[in-house]
């Protein structure tokens, strides 16, 4: 009898693969990224060179930071759909205020709506327990309204992209995009915060089992409010970076990044139900999506087709992760 108990159970290949995927989600993701780059190289021989890599990084970085907002909010079982509006507001306010104001003042003015929207989101989700999706969608509608009103007041003064944002958005240093100067500290900070600080662990705790977290003395609304303010601030900074990259202030500047940012976090292995995931996977997810977008552009897939594909990716990846968790 003891023999049977100690004998190792034969594990099927499928189960082993699933467990491997669940324990080390980064490895299959990196393999997928390499496969995509290889396909690109086959379709357009010679496209993969230093300039292409720098360019890909430049476009992946704003997406990766916004996906960071999604990662952190998704860890608590939430989502932040207002990041696009917040980024657009910051970028637009920066570009129009820099004309008459000191850069530091313009920067503060640009960050103000980000903090306010984050605060409203946090209070709505944390105190009133509105579903984050509805709440952030609502604040993003209100934000867009404010932006339209604001646009009228500055229509005479015009807009300008400050030089340092130009440098940050498109400049290269020794072949490396300058945006890395912003991204590397941000990424290190997020990873450090999620893994090594009390606040980061609280995010996992709240997302994993909200009731248990509350019962063990976590002040839910404070954690959530801080989280959404942080997410909004990051989105605002991304907006500044993005305007340096795109160089055309408009009222829908960062809106196209919202869906991919959700998709990047989901692909990166962060569970949309909370409690599982991390930022390193998200970064790879953002790279995958950027390369995929290039690939789809080369294949001449229209914008609509791309959105359809992203939607199905989110759905199938979520379903797949659900199966993996159930099996454990």
């Amino acid at each position: 009898m003891t023999d049977i108990a100690t004998m190792p159970q034969p594990v099927s290949f499928g189960r082993r693969l699933k467990r491997f995927m669940a324990d080390r989600p980064l490895i299959p993701l990196i393999i997928l990224l390499i496969v995509l780059v290889a396909i690109l190289q086959v379709l357009r021989p010679g496209i993969v060179n230093e300039r292409w890599i720098a360019n890909t990084a430049k476009f992946a970085i704003p997406l990766a930071i916004l996906a960071g907002c999604q990662t952190m909010t998704m860890l608590t079982g939430g989502i932040d759909l207002s990041v696009g509006t917040v980024a657009t507001m910051s970028a637009f306010i920066m570009a129009t205020q820099i004309v008459n104001q000191d850069p530091a003042v313009a920067f503060l003015l640009a960050m103000l709506p980000a903090v306010l929207i984050g605060l409203v989101n946090g209070i709505g989700v944390g105190v009133f327990l509105v579903h984050p999706l509805i709440m952030t969608l609502g604040t993003s509608l209100i934000g867009t309204g404010f932006l339209q009103v604001y646009q009228r007041t500055v229509i005479a003064s015009g807009a300008r992209i400050p030089d340092f944002l130009n440098w940050l958005g498109t400049g290269l240093t020794y072949g490396f995009p300058n945006a890395l100067f912003l991204f590397v500290p941000v990424a290190v900070l997020i990873v450090f915060m999620l893994n090594r600080t009390g606040f980061g662990r609280l995010l996992y705790a709240v997302g994993d089992n909200e009731r248990a977290a509350r019962l063990s003395g976590v002040r839910y609304w404070q954690v959530i409010t801080a989280l959404y303010v942080l997410s909004s601030l990051l989105a605002g900074i991304t907006g500044l970076l993005y305007i340096g990259l795109i160089k055309a202030p408009s009222l829908s500047l960062a809106e196209p990044l919202v869906l991919p940012s959700v998709a990047a976090a989901v692909i990166g292995g962060t569970s949309i139900f909370g409690g599982r995931g991390g930022y390193t996977g998200t970064i790879v997810g953002a790279l995958i999506l950027t390369v995929l977008t290039t690939l789809l552009t080369i294949l001449q897939m229209p914008e609509g087709g791309r959105r359809i594909l992203f939607g199905f990716i989110v759905l199938f990846v979520t379903a797949a992760y659900l199966r993996i968790i159930e099996d454990r």
């Binding site: 509608l141 339209q148 909200e210 229209p302 939607g311």
Partner: protein, 328 residues
């Protein structure tokens, strides 16, 4: 019995609110007459169908984030099919688009049942997919609507037994709305199926143990939601004469009206009448803001703020309604 009274009390209160807002409108603009009521009914039409679509799903214990995108897709499909086609061809387009809504709604339900991913994620993914599909059908606002369809929402419905002054207060759009909603809702409410929808929203496990086919009922609820959304999309095309591939603000509006209409976001409670009255209240408030000569962009901000406040209020009521210590 007390629940019945409470629900009817809510609807009665809403109706009183509607009359109050109506009186306010009359005070602001003494000339507000039947013609203005007609244009109100026309403006309400797409919102009312969006709300009906949301109501069915919320009663069944879910939520449909793809309502606005579904309306955009059905609207552009109708507009592009009717573009340059004969008047009679529209007779074929209308049932085709309605069937399309029904099938796509059912697809939502099937995906939820098969993948076991929560409603909110599946319909979010479908939001991306339907948006993309709408862009594929029509890249920019365009298309056309048949003249007889456009005429079906303009003017008043001639009802022989009514005197002219009363007849003027019965716009065709309102008649169309009432007919479309009643044709689907009244037989449903009286059938076993309707009861099942309330049952799975109220307590899924109890419903399952009482022999309610939970999966099938959920699929039907989403299919009906798709049907209502298709009606909304058609009404958009009819009232504007074109189709636009960008989803309007119908998602947040539908959730707000559902909450204001006394349908619990947890499911199982409420009816269709409350949300429909609520949507009239919300639209009439917008009319008031316009009559007060407030900048349309500011109106958008106020409207968004009202909707967010309503949703927050609804969530707050839901927390209060729960026994102390229950998980939110």
């Amino acid at each position: 019995m007390s629940r019945f009274l409470r629900n009817q009390g809510w609807v009665a209160g809403l109706f009183a609110l509607l009359i109050f807002v109506f009186v306010v409108t009359k005070l602001i603009q003494p000339g507000y007459g039947s013609g203005d009521f007609g244009s109100l009914a026309r403006a309400v039409l797409p919102y009312a169908f969006a709300v009906a679509a949301q109501t069915v799903v919320v009663i069944a214990g879910g939520i449909d984030l793809s309502v606005a995108a579904m309306m955009a897709l059905t609207s552009v499909t109708a507009a592009s099919m009717m573009n340059g086609a004969s008047e009679e061809y529209a007779l074929f387009v209308v049932p085709f688009v309605l069937a399309m809504g029904l099938v796509l709604g059912a697809l939502n339900g099937v995906l939820i049942v098969v993948t076991r991913v929560p409603d909110i994620v599946v319909t979010l993914a479908m939001l991306f997919v339907l948006q993309g599909a709408a862009l594929l059908v029509l890249g920019a606002p365009g298309g056309a609507a048949a003249e007889w369809l456009k005429a079906s929402v303009v003017g008043t419905a001639p009802i022989p037994s009514l005197p002219d002054w009363a007849d003027a207060w019965v716009p065709k759009a309102l008649v169309l709305l009432v007919i479309c909603l009643c044709i689907v809702w009244i037989p449903l409410r009286r059938s076993r199926l309707g009861l099942s929808i309330y049952a799975i929203g109220s307590d899924e496990l109890a419903a399952f143990r009482s022999g309610v086919p939970v999966a099938r009922t959920r699929i039907v609820a989403y299919a009906l939601s798709g049907l209502f959304a298709a009606m909304g999309g058609l009404s958009l095309t009819i009232s504007t004469g074109i189709g636009a591939p960008i989803p309007g603000p119908y998602l947040l509006a539908s959730v707000a009206a559902v909450v204001l209409g006394g349908v619990a976001l947890g499911g199982g409670k409420g009816g269709l009448l409350g949300p429909i009255i609520a949507v009239f209240v919300l639209r009439l408030v917008r009319t008031d803001l316009t009559l007060l000569a407030i900048d349309p962009n500011v109106t958008a901000i106020i409207e968004g703020a009202i909707m967010v406040a309503v949703v927050m209020f609804g969530a707050f009521i839901t927390i209060r309604g729960r026994p102390v210590g229950a998980t939110p």
